[in-house]
């Protein structure tokens, strides 16, 4: 198989890179090692939620904060991507979402503050329109609503936490029964989402909500299960039936909100004729004279070489299986480089689960052009570029910046690949 650019990865970085190449008019092939990391991680695009991993105050204006970060830390992935790439990638994704029929909101100059399933406000830059009515910078009272028997969103828990900041008068919790579901049946977010595809089911839930939620200007927070696809007009009709603004709150994997995004973008790429190679982990790169000639994929029962003029490695470090961690050594699947070594496995971790984790920072060392580099800073291959979690030296969890970093570096890596 031959193409101009091969993009390897399943997350936002890979999608942004593929879209960038597609828009340039060149040919792109997407290689997916397995399930999308999007299913497991944040359902929103978090550009920069906090200036550091330990800062308590959320960022209101991400553009300014990212610019400051770039000025202060020249090796930060945002600095390597550049402010232009940060801005351009957000514009790229918003435009793409719109074209693909996904209603998303947000802009680089402001963060939403959206409640999580524990009731904690979380800053994020871009979010589905089905989530943004929950923005806590607005004063309207909130009612969290859960479903009987659904364990991954407890409205009482969310309300109990938000009450601390908002006062009990403005936050409350109710539960309704989704028809056919209850405490005696095993079901998941996906089951509920599938049921929400059905108009009669939606009406029945909306009817209960209308009855249970009263008061002027109240908005209703529900778990993020309102349909596998949820076209914009369906969501609008549901809100009308409820009689109040409704917002979704993302829940544990598999996250329906992320799945909705991923599946829509995937179909949109495929509709445009872009080839996607599924479930084929790469396990070697043929590099001669500092150029990658091809990568070898493990396809069903055979090896599939993919030849491209340039490659974008847009991987999450662990969830999608990009890197293999042995007891002491971490290896990458392309160059078979030992990209990290630890005397003892404990060194990959912080003492607290909630601290910045060294294992999140494992990844390729980079050149200024986002090429994976050896210990001396020389590129491992001149036509390979890196994006997303696979970059070394950065933990997006604490600063809430995984999505923003993914699309900015995905965009930038694709630009480099096009120029290579």
């Amino acid at each position: 198989m031959k193409t101009d650019v091969a993009v390897i990865g399943t997350g936002l970085a890979a999608l942004a890179a593929a879209r960038t190449v597609q828009q340039s008019g060149r040919q792109v092939v997407l290689v997916w090692p397995g399930l999308s990391s999007l299913y497991f991680l944040s359902a929103t695009v978090d550009v920069l939620g906090y200036p550091t991993a330990t800062a308590a105050e959320p960022i209101a204006h991400p553009a300014e904060a990212v610019a400051r970060l770039i000025a202060q830390e020249p090796t930060h992935p945002y600095a390597r991507a550049g402010m232009n790439a940060v801005e351009a990638s957000i514009a790229l994704m918003l435009e793409w979402f719109k074209e693909a029929g996904l209603a998303w909101e947000g802009a680089i100059d402001r963060n939403f503050l959206l409640p999580t399933a524990t009731g904690m406000p979380k800053p994020c830059c871009l979010a589905p329109a089905s989530m943004t009515a929950g923005d806590l910078s607005r004063p309207q009272p909130l009612v969290f609503c859960g479903f009987t028997g659904y364990q991954d969103f407890a409205p009482e828990f969310a309300a109990a936490n938000l009450t601390r900041q908002w006062g009990a008068a403005d936050v409350s919790a109710v539960r309704v029964t989704a028809p056919g579901y209850g405490a005696e049946r095993l079901f998941t977010s996906i089951d509920l989402a599938r049921s929400f595809e059905d108009a009669a089911f939606r009406d029945a839930v909306a009817g209960q909500l209308r009855e249970r939620v009263t008061g002027d200007g109240v908005r209703v927070g529900v778990p993020g299960v309102l349909g596998l696809t949820m076209p914009n007009e369906t969501f609008a009709a549901f809100q009308r039936a409820v009689g109040h603004p409704v917002f979704e709150i993302p829940t544990v994997p598999p996250s329906v909100i992320a799945l909705r995004l991923f599946d829509r973008l995937r179909k949109h790429l495929q509709e445009a004729g872009i080839e996607i190679i599924w479930a084929a982990p790469a396990h070697a790169a043929d590099v001669t004279d500092q150029r990658c000639r091809s990568i070898l994929l493990k396809a069903a029962g055979h090896e599939l070489p993919v030849e491209a003029a340039a490659y974008v490695l847009a991987l999450e470090d662990w969830v999608d299986g990009a890197f293999r961690a042995g007891v002491h050594t971490v290896r990458d699947p392309f160059f078979h480089q030992a990209i990290a070594w630890n005397k003892v496995p404990t060194d990959r971790t912080a003492e607290s689960l909630f601290a910045s984790q060294p294992f999140e920072e494992v990844g390729y060392a980079l050149t200024d052009r986002l090429q994976p580099a050896d210990v001396n800073g020389k590129p491992l291959a001149r036509n390979v570029f890196c994006a997303g979690g696979a970059m070394a030296g950065y933990d997006p969890s604490g600063t809430k910046s995984r999505g923003g970093m993914a699309i900015a570096t995905g965009y930038r890596a694709a630009q480099e690949a096009l120029a290579a």
Binding site: A43, K122, G149, A154, E156, P253, V327, T346, S352, F359
Partner: protein
């Protein structure tokens, strides 16, 4: 906390203390168990779960081996639901092991352990994972798996049904005395520091590795040597039966299958204090290397976590150290030895012989009270009913405790998918005041003990603190975080392969989806919430009403 009174105070909520409590109530004696942590939160819950046939002790520690043989048979009768009859193999892999074989065979013969040499081919047919190093194999059918949590909870619930009371997270801070006679204990809530007292006629110190520290409160010495043992949990069963090295007991020489996992054990190192149990990388490495000598797949299996427990070895004054020391136990009659009336200690021993230890110490303690009712714990089953108990995997509700692995039709809702724990399995514990945090729920239900290490179920459990107990949001969040941190402390030591991948889901979920790290920053130390604060004695009627 209100002052109260009883006949006997039992200090320690491990297998021994739980056995003592039940033994007392079966003899018609009113008793309260006081435990500074949770039931089975010390040595018992950190054992490897081997129900000893006695084979590991039959050469060097004959008395301990004989007791294991007898007690193993008794437990299979009275505590059937906590035992899985896996059987065990003793395998030789080196010349030294080979030289040990005659002594092992002779030891089994002398102590009455059923042991049969089988061909390596036959052994491989039964256990295909045996390594190529294995040269000789002995089948020891009476090795088994003993669920330490259910054993303790089963004993305690049986005692509660007879009126015994339990105070968890309650520390004995001192003793009340009238001259040379103990008249009670001073207690303190470990979480709230509230103080109170229990008047009683007799105190039994069943605190194992902590026995010396408790005795010191009275100014008497009990020489207990705390010896650390580290274990590694693999996410699946590599063998059907327990696999022991046929040699002088040493590091990493046993692989115990328990429920859905295998546990590699153990190391042995003296520690200065029973709560100083650091896990060293060298221990973890050695356990895996040694385990791989006996079984294929040990190095490639998914390691889920490591943990360390402390053996409560009793110093009989001999020269022996650590593993060389006897696994035997001793009853110390402090009235006789130190002139303190109403105080008895039980030290040494092991989980397999907990019942016998309880019997012996209760015999001594109640003799001083003028009670001559004989012990019946070897006859009365834990469920207190005259009907046979099922094997572990069909753990029945007849034990009086919720079962973690339901035998009802499938596709019921699950709270913890890894360990197949249903919402109704955890619900009763949220009504039990002796259950104070999510770790306590875990010990009683296995929630959070599977491969994902509570990534998913921690939220569901924390939500129950809010819905079922009226706990406030910050406290529930803190409880969720503490629960995850406890899991994390074990996972960090085996941080590679699939478990590492899994933890990116955990951090992604809790830090990026829930933003828990920020929530913790905003609430350094939450005030104790309603339903959490204050310990109180659980009245039997109340317990009955809750079930």
């Amino acid at each position: 906390m209100p002052d109260t009174s009883t006949g006997v105070v039992v200090i320690g909520g491990g297998s021994t203390g739980a056995g003592v409590l039940r033994d007392l109530t079966l003899r018609g004696i009113d008793a309260i168990l006081v435990e500074k942590g949770d039931l089975a939160s010390g040595t018992t819950g950190r054992s490897h779960g081997l129900l000893h046939s006695g084979g590991r002790y039959c050469v060097n520690d004959e008395q301990a081996a004989i007791e294991c043989v007898e007690e193993g048979r008794i437990l299979r009768r009275i505590a059937r639901s906590t035992v899985e009859d896996t059987g065990g193999y003793f395998v030789s892999v080196t010349d030294e092991d080979h030289a040990w074989e005659p002594r092992f065979v002779e030891g089994c013969r002398r102590t009455g352990i059923t042991c049969e040499r089988i061909s390596v081919d036959e052994a491989r047919r039964r256990e295909p994972a045996l390594s190529k190093h294995v040269r000789t194999v002995f089948w020891v059918p009476e090795d088994g798996h003993l669920d330490p949590f259910y054993l303790v909870v089963g004993n305690v619930e049986s005692a509660r049904r007879r009126g015994a009371r339990v105070m968890t997270h309650t520390e004995v801070s001192g003793f009340l005395r009238d001259g040379d006679r103990l008249t009670g204990v001073r207690i303190r809530d470990s979480k709230t520091n509230e103080e109170g007292s229990i008047a009683c006629q007799s105190v039994i110190n069943a605190t194992g590795a902590w026995a010396g520290l408790v005795a010191r409160l009275l100014g008497v010495e009990v020489k207990v040597v705390p010896v650390k043992g580290t274990m590694v949990v693999l996410s699946r069963r590599l063998a059907h039966a327990a696999i022991n090295r046929c040699h002088k007991p040493g590091d990493g020489d046993i692989v115990v299958p328990g429920l859905s996992v295998s546990i590699l054990g153990t190391t042995s190192a003296k520690v200065p204090h029973p709560e100083t149990l650091p896990i060293e990388w060298d221990e973890v490495r050695r356990m895996i290397e040694e385990g791989a000598m006996m079984l294929d797949g040990v190095t490639t299996a998914r390691a889920m976590r490591a943990y360390a427990g402390v053996r409560p070895l009793y110093d009989l004054g001999a020269e022996a150290e650590g593993r060389e020391m006897s696994r035997n136990f001793a009853v110390i009659d402090h009235q006789e030895r130190d002139g303190i009336k109403g105080f008895t200690s039980i030290v040494g021993g092991k989980v397999t012989t907990y019942r016998l230890m309880a019997e012996r110490v209760v015999d001594v303690a109640v003799r001083h009270l003028g009670v001559s009712t004989p012990c019946t714990t070897a006859e009365v089953p834990l469920n207190d009913r005259d009907e046979p108990l099922d094997q572990l995997r069909h753990r029945p509700s007849v034990l009086g405790v919720p079962k973690p692995h339901g035998d009802d039709p499938p596709l019921q809702p699950l709270l913890c998918e890894c360990e197949l724990v249903r919402p109704q399995d955890v619900a009763p514990w949220f009504k039990d005041p002796a259950v104070r945090d999510l770790e306590d729920v875990r010990r009683r239900t296995r929630s959070g003990m599977g491969p994902c290490q509570a990534a998913i179920c921690s939220y569901r459990l924390a939500a129950r603190l809010v819905t079922d107990r009226g706990v406030d949001g910050p406290s529930a969040t803190r409880a969720m975080a503490d629960f995850l941190e406890t899991r994390w402390r074990g996972v960090r030591h085996v941080f590679w392969g699939s478990q590492l991948r899994n933890m990116q889901i955990t951090t992604g979920l809790h830090m990026e989806l829930y933003n828990v790290d920020r929530q913790l920053m905003l609430q350094p130390t939450p005030p104790l919430a309603e339903g959490q604060g204050g310990s109180r004695v659980v009245e039997p009627a109340e317990v009955a009403a809750q079930r």
